[in-house]
């Protein structure tokens, strides 16, 4: 390993996962460095969501290793993964429906709270100072993403595009180093997709974090990713820049073949 290149943020080494007799993902390698925007694509059923779930702790690899910041994260439950600094969004938006927009983001700050049950009950000075700080941070984040005016609205009554945005804001509130987006463009019209691309680029710049994007929509992926990995039947068949991926014969065949 060369001393010149910095250690990768996320590293999957030869990850394999089997469900009974079915091998969903096989010997998968992936590396994401700091402040990189990496895409993961592949035809339906290729195993993209499975890889996603491996990284976010929903599944445990049958073989292989996963390192984040140099530490193995295999076997850590999803809430522990979030604590390590990996945040995620969901394909079918999972906001907290009975909470307001404000509270959806606010609750995500709890990872960095120093006040727990005892302080919440005692309600001393330290508690209120922290609550005020959190409130200010929530307001700031909502403003940055243009959701400030919705702050007390129940999250479920937001328009779809705003809900998607809120979910990303909530994920960012956990102060992650890696943000994993699971098909964020699903269900969006072309205008909303352009907005989304802008949003993702903006997030990366403003928060200086890495982003893993699993997505079906080619325009979105090609438009913003620095690097793209392609999965087919659980195996990585290609990984390089968007331009090269578009010309890669194996990739074309994987998609065309499955389009039949």
């Amino acid at each position: 390993m060369s001393d010149a290149s910095p250690a990768p943020l996320l590293q999957l080494k030869q990850c394999t996962i089997r469900f009974g007799g079915l091998t969903a993902v096989s010997t998968f390698d992936l590396q994401i460095n700091e402040n990189e925007l990496v895409g993961l694509i592949g035809p339906n059923g290729a195993g993209k969501t499975t890889v996603f779930n491996l990284i976010t702790g929903v599944y445990r690899p049958t073989e292989g290793e996963i390192f984040f910041n140099g530490k193995s994260i295999v076997g850590i439950k999803p809430n522990g993964i979030a604590e390590c600094g990996i945040a995620r969004t969901f394909q079918n938006i999972r906001l907290f429906p009975s909470l307001s927009v404000f509270d959806n983001v606010r609750v995500a700050f709890h990872l960095h709270l120093s006040c727990g049950v005892r302080q919440a009950l005692w309600r001393g000075k330290a508690f209120f100072i922290e609550e005020k700080t959190v409130d200010a941070q929530v307001v700031e984040m909502l403003e940055i993403f243009g959701l400030g005016k919705f702050r007390d609205v129940p999250a479920k009554s937001l328009p779809y595009g705003d809900q998607r945005r809120l979910e990303i804001v909530r994920a960012l509130a956990t102060k992650p180093k890696l943000l994993c987006l699971d098909e964020p463009a699903a269900g969006m019209n072309p205008t909303e997709k352009v907005e989304l691309m802008r949003l993702i680029r903006f997030v990366r710049e403003k928060f200086q974090i890495s982003i893993l994007l699993v997505e079906h929509d080619m325009k979105v992926v090609m438009g913003i990713c620095q690097r793209i990995a392609v999965l087919d039947y659980g195996i990585k068949i290609a990984e390089s820049t968007p331009e090269e991926i578009q010309k890669n014969p194996k990739v074309i065949e994987a998609y065309l073949g499955s389009e039949n």
């Binding site: 609750v107 302080q119 009950l121």
Partner: protein, 319 residues
């Protein structure tokens, strides 16, 4: 600068102490109902933390009440004679109050332990399965008490001193409301509602759902136990029969009627449902039939509870 909520709590405690002094001038029949209201408020609000805010459908709350009630009664009856002299003498009023405090607190602790024992294994279960298991635990507690000779088994435990008064009842109720509301409205406490709304999403933002559920069970059970202690020293008699499935259902109905996760609504519902049986006394024979029909009607027409409404601004006592 003291928190506004703490001032409110203090005022409530002082008020209940003052009113307690005048309890002699209140019609005893009405006094009984008022005390029952106070105990039910504590039960309903504590259950609301588990069922309403955290979404864990517990049908065994009466079991926690029983554990707390019996423990407190054992402290005052069995150990009272030994403890009172240490606290100031058997005729000393202050000593009796302190004894009662110790008894209630001990009852709460034991109930909280029961809360962990019931909550921890139930965590993996959802919806109806969780309901059935908690129901089962409640019944097991009842059967165990029925088979324990030292607390009177199915004959019940008699001779419990009458320590419960308005001050204790509403003091405890006020503390329960304060604790549940303070907890749930804090940033940390929003996690409870997150667990209820979507566990998967909650885990994704780093919430340890297991821990939250156990905390809810522990705190909920603790106050149910204290309510049980209040109840025992109010009726001066405890019988395992009174802590069965039906009792748990009565408390659950208060939470549902009030709106799961709506503390103010639950308090109102507790008051209404305590008073209702008295109001229905003329038709006492049909009382339970009406009660069950009301339950069905409520579910068919307004399952979100009578007092849940959409509010624009952040409400003071709702989730």
């Amino acid at each position: 600068m003291i928190a506004k909520s703490k001032i409110v709590l203090l005022v409530a405690l002082i008020a209940s102490c003052v009113i307690s002094r005048f309890s002699k001038s209140i019609n005893p029949y009405h006094l009984d109902i008022i005390i029952a209201i106070g105990i039910n408020i504590t039960l309903a609000v504590s259950l609301n933390l588990i069922n309403g805010y955290t979404g864990q459908f517990s049908l065994g709350h009466a079991g926690f009440m029983a554990v707390g009630g019996y423990t407190a009664a054992v402290v005052t009856t069995t150990f009272g004679a030994k403890l009172l002299p240490l606290l100031g003498g058997t005729e000393n009023i202050f000593a009796k109050e302190v004894l009662f405090l110790i008894a209630l607190f001990t009852g709460g602790i034991f109930a909280a332990i029961a809360g962990v024992l019931v909550g921890a294994p139930s965590l993996r279960l959802k919806g109806d399965y969780l309901a059935i298991v908690t129901l089962g635990f409640g019944e097991i507690i009842r059967v165990l008490l029925q088979n324990t000779e030292t607390v009177g088994a199915s004959r019940g435990l008699t001779g419990i001193p009458s320590y419960t008064n308005l001050f204790w009842t509403f003091g405890v109720a006020a503390i329960t409301v304060y604790i549940v509301v303070s907890l749930v409205q804090s940033t940390y406490g929003r996690g409870f509602v997150a667990v209820r709304d979507d566990e998967v999403a909650a885990e994704a933002i780093g919430i340890n759902t297991t821990r939250y559920k156990i905390i809810a069970f522990v705190i909920g059970a603790f106050f149910a136990g204290i309510a049980g202690g209040l109840y025992g020293h109010f009726k001066q008699y405890l019988n395992p029969e009174g802590f069965g499935f039906m009792r748990s259902i009565e408390i659950v109905v208060m939470v549902i009627l009030g709106g799961m996760g709506n503390t103010l609504g639950v308090i109102i519902a507790a008051i209404l449902l305590t008073v209702l049986p008295e109001v229905l006394r003329p038709v006492a024979e049909y009382r339970m039939i009406i009660y069950s029909l009301l339950l069905i009607m409520l579910m068919l027409t307004r399952p979100q509870g009578l007092f849940t409404w959409r509010k624009k601004s952040k409400p003071a006592l709702s989730a």
